[in-house]
Amino acid sequence: MSTPRTPAGEPERIHAVPVRYPGRWVSAAVVAVLAAMVVHGLVTNDTFAWPTVAEYLFSPNVLRGVGWTLGLTVGSMVIAVLLAVLLAVMRRSDNPVMRGVSWTYIWVFRGTPIYTQLVFWGLLSVLYPVISLGVPFGPAFAEFDTQDLVTAGRAALVGLALNEAAYLAEIVRAGLQSVDPGQSEAARALGMKDPAILRRVVLPQAMRVIVPPTGNETISMLKTTSLVLAVPFTLDLQFATNAIGNRTFQPVPLLMVAAIWYLAVTSVLMVGQHFLERYYGRGFEGHRPAGGRGRQAAINAARTTPEAPVVDDMGRSTGGPTGGPA
């Protein structure tokens, strides 16, 4: 069987009639009607009081709440990431004491509710009115009044961070385990020492695995900050909007205000996550500055093969360049 040819002598390309999918049109229409019903319900129900939403969306108390929520989220995540790397490294340590401490930490902080932990940190000053640094059972070098040291804001920040660190530690551990053992072996063969191998070789590669779930955790943390009233800390977005809603007897529109802000911040965080993933994905499949089909393109460009093993998209053998390093 010979392929039909165009007058120019090239094989005639296939121009086939596409398959029809009526089901796709039907399902799209059903979903569109449902969406229209939801929008209708949102717009026409006066209880949502959209003018009130607009009135309070940028009110000073709400904006301050957004600031605190964002600050608590970012601050607690930064502390949590640093602590999580430490916990994950301790978990892999040769020292059984380190392994045990890390395991116990994760067990306690993952095994109790965040709400309970926040209440506990809020009550710390009742438990220990004075915190002193010194030798256990010996002299103290410095003493602090717990009320002054652990303010509601700090208790909220640290409480969220300590809880989150336990979850992130497991994510970091999974990331470290995902790196090919040949990597640290190659680094060791070069005479690199363990801390440098972790910092320069293993951790940067583990980040590729660590960043996506950590982004997820950050978005989750944004909303967990609404629990800080357990401390009690009362300046975050959820508490601020709730307070206004209770005062003005309009809880629903203020709930909408909170929801809009949480959505907006989440969207910004998602953009940040995208760029972080791209940074740590450098050098891996799917991220090439230049075009071409990766490895095959590299082999061809290397000009070390006597003949290009692929044919070009016109169907002819490219009869690649010859020579190159022997």
């Binding site: 070069l190 005479g191 690199m192 320069r200 090439r288 490895r295 082999i299 070390t304």
Partner: protein, 273 residues
């Protein structure tokens, strides 16, 4: 390290020169598996030794023991007259071996270059970054010096136009040549090659062997575990045939590979040639 050559070490060869590598009665166990059963081997300075043998014969393990990626169970390994991994001393009036601190082990390894079957390049660094990294971290060279050296070495392996490529953008042969440059950047006195061409497509083997041939011609001491009999014939000063965790026979490739004394060597060569 070179100062040790002045002292007559126990591993001194027939000419009185200290061999670059000396393995004496080296045993290795993986759990209950006895994979090295008393390896004795001397690699003279500036020579190329090619280690051949069926898979599972322990040749890769023996190579990895030299730079302490594997810990030996018995025997001793000296590199340029220096005992690897231990310090000889006296404890409670009796001679004893003291394990070296990981820091000292790292120093010993830094003088031995190693090339792996699967390249093991750092995928998040460019070719240049791969060659620069250990120079900065281990040799404490400043970045400019390290980069200049890296450019020089990548040029030597024929990759001066690939310095800014990531490993994923390079062919296997190019990756392995970067790996060789990375090892050479540490100015090693000894280079170990663990089946450097076994993971390559057949048409890419030649470029890597070419770089290794040049390296041998420059006087580098090399120990090469490989299945490339042709390379062994052409480049090796010593061919070592291993099977079942022992050195079956060793000698000039003209003898071992052409007219072996041992039946096991003959069987192996008949299978691979």
């Amino acid at each position: 390290m070179s100062t040790a050559a002045a002292a007559p070490a126990p591993g001194a060869g027939p000419t009185g020169d200290v061999p670059m590598v000396r393995m004496e009665g080296v045993h290795k166990w993986f759990g209950h598996a006895h994979v090295l059963r008393g390896i004795d081997l001397a690699v003279p300075r500036g020579s190329v030794s090619v280690v051949l043998g069926p898979s599972g014969s322990g040749k890769s393990t023996a190579l990895r023991c030299i730079n302490q990626l594997e810990e030996i169970g018995a025997g001793r390994i000296l590199v340029d007259g220096e005992l690897m991994g231990y310090r000889e001393g006296v404890r409670r009036g009796a001679p004893a071996l003291f394990r070296l601190h990981p820091r000292q082990v790292a120093q010993q390894r830094a003088r031995i270059g190693m090339v792996f079957q699967r390249f093991n390049l750092f995928p998040h660094m460019t070719a240049l970054g791969n060659v620069v990294e250990a120079q900065v971290q281990v040799l404490r060279r400043d970045r400019a010096t390290a980069r200049a050296r890296a450019h020089e070495l990548l040029d030597r392996v024929g990759l001066s136009d690939r310095v800014d490529h990531y490993p994923a953008q390079l062919s296997g042969g190019q990756q392995q040549r970067v790996a060789i440059a990375r090892a050479l950047a540490m100015d090693p006195e000894l280079m170990l090659f663990d089946e450097p061409t076994s993971a390559l497509d057949p048409e890419l083997v030649g470029e890597v062997l070419g770089v290794m041939r040049d390296l041998a011609a420059s006087g580098m001491t090399m120990v090469v575990v490989t299945h490339e009999i042709g390379f062994a014939r052409e480049v090796a000063d010593q061919a070592v045939f291993m099977a079942d965790g022992v050195v079956v026979e060793s000698g000039p490739p003209g003898e071992v590979l052409v007219d072996p004394r041992e039946q096991r060597t003959r069987d192996f060569l008949a299978r691979v040639l």
